[in-house]
Amino acid sequence: MKLTKLAFALCASVALPIMAQATELEVTHWWTSGGEAAAVAEFAKAFDATGNKWVDGAIAGSGDVARPIIISRILGGNPMGATQLNPGKDADDLIAAGLMQDLTELATAEDWATILRPKSQMDSCTLDGKVYCVPVNLHSGQWMWTNRKVYEDAGIAPPQNWAEMIAAAPALKEKGIIPLSLAEGWPIGLLTEDLIVAIAGVDNYVAVYQDRNMEMARGAEFAAVFKAIDEARQIIDPKTVVPQWNDAVALVIQGKAAANVMGDWAGGEFAVAGMVAGTDYDCLPGLGVEPVLGTGGDVFYFPKSEDPEVTKAQLAMASMMVTKEVQVAFNLKKGSLPMRADVDLSAANDCMKKGLEILDNGTKVFPNNSQMLDRDSLNQINDVMKEFFSDLTITPEAAQEQFAAIIEAAPK
């Protein structure tokens, strides 16, 4: 509590005069499951300790359900006090319209640029040199999860990278095991990007997604990626494609499937099932090809309020979210990596530690897709990849060209 109070005092001394009374802030987020709610509770507890009141406004269904609600509330003139929102280009319009609270002063005073890492995540909260959101954690999507027992039972050494996983597929299939589980929808897009990163490399991925290098998008490196996706779709029986990502992870946990590609949030499912990383299952960052880490993560925005009391409370909340103590408590419950390097995370599991290690190296860390491309274009890429996966008559070349055309047309 000491640290929270200290941080609060610091924030108060810089940004605002002394807090008079408790202000209620409604917070919209889509963290509704057990583990997520426990993480939110850490925020709520710490915020209430600042003398304000956290009013929980959970809306399940990730951004797709929450976004229209958030925007409607802001348009209607009854904004929430704070809201989770996908960072990057999604929020740009709202910021440009002057609807979001500017946090620059607080960020400068607390020196977020130094204490929070990686830089790319801070960048996604920054527009024209001003800070508009608080990054609270890091999630990376480039992991392959394998059930060691399934491979061992089949007399195969558990694969340590993508190619070995593909090579083991025919033998597993003969035994009636799904070599690679897959969920319908966005997980197909995630798999695509992970393969780009693993096969074409981080630099080329950024070159295409961020710098829109069209030669690269149409070139040989990416052709190799589409070849790899072609291999993957050949080993996936459409009957085994499940509706949601957690169904696909569950297949691996139950031993019905051998491997799955999913973000670090899948680690929570293994933990709940009582499995131990390294003995029961493997988590392979960068699909085992090269340890890399995309820096997606959750951020909070604060819709602008005319009430100075609310603004005060908003700043207090923003400050609270990046304090050491809260960062540790929150991220351990959430299963994500903290934004601060200067915290003790010895309680973290093996997979989180692998992630932290990459993060500390810094070189293989790259921005999240939504920081480089707008959501609309990303969805269009998903559409192309979903079709490519389910329709074997589409050639890798055709899919690559469709992919490149979307990159080309994407707004800068």
Binding site: G34, E36, A58, A60, S72, R73, L75, G76, Q244, E269
Partner: protein, 301 residues
Amino acid sequence: MTAMSSASTVTPNGAKPKPMFAPGRVLIYTLLIVTSIYYLIPLYVMVITSLKDLDQIREGNIFIPTMKPTFDAWIKAWSAACTGLNCTGLAPGFWNSVFITIPSVIVSIAVASISGYTLANWPFKFAEWCFTILLVGSFIPYQVFLYPLVIITREMGIYSTLYAVIFVHTVFGLPILTLLFRNYFASLPEELFKAARVDGAGYWRIFFNVLMPMSLPIFSVAVILQVTGIWNDFLFGVIYAGPTNYPMTVQLNNIVNSLQGVKEYNVEMAATILTGLVPLTIYFLSGKYFVRGIAAGAVKG
């Protein structure tokens, strides 16, 4: 049960039910029972799933009932399921849903019935043009209206209040309901209307004293349609009603749509059936009027 027995007394118009075992009867009952099975299979799966625990769901076949049924999921869905930080189940949203549904149903039916009455009995060109636009409007996906309605309700000064959500439900109920009422009133014998006019009755007196008593059935049809739609609505409630008035479906959505962590399918099924109980009760209670309502009305149009 009283509802069911009273509903089943409506059936015959004329002779008593024939004996069950004539060959033609056997065919009729066979067809009815076979189709009923098709309709009941999903409900059967839902009910047996809600009575299983999570291990049984994971291991078992979806069609095979459990030997050790438990009502834990039902209790949890009603009073303990967490959505975010609030572990209160569906119960608290129940009353909000009631407070949204009752006025929304009343206002939307009032506006639509009066509009239908005007179109049928006091038509004027402009109203007829409006009716045409309404019918086309019933084909537009709801989502298109979201942002314009935010602005409209904001300019009306009612955004984020119960009034806004009542207004929105009135808007979306208007096309189909107006059609129902217009057809119904137009089908009533014209002589009734003329006689009332000769007696000197005006617009409102004819509506309340002559037409309404004859139209209870069509009103119950409208109630059924509206209660179903409004009770199950999630999006409008959450966008227009404001956080203090969140309906039960917000909790239902949060129970059902959580993507992280273990999926509690049994709680989902129990929560869905619990949420559906109110419209189902309305069906039971008004089944009798439901059928007679349309019967007396829309047909002779």
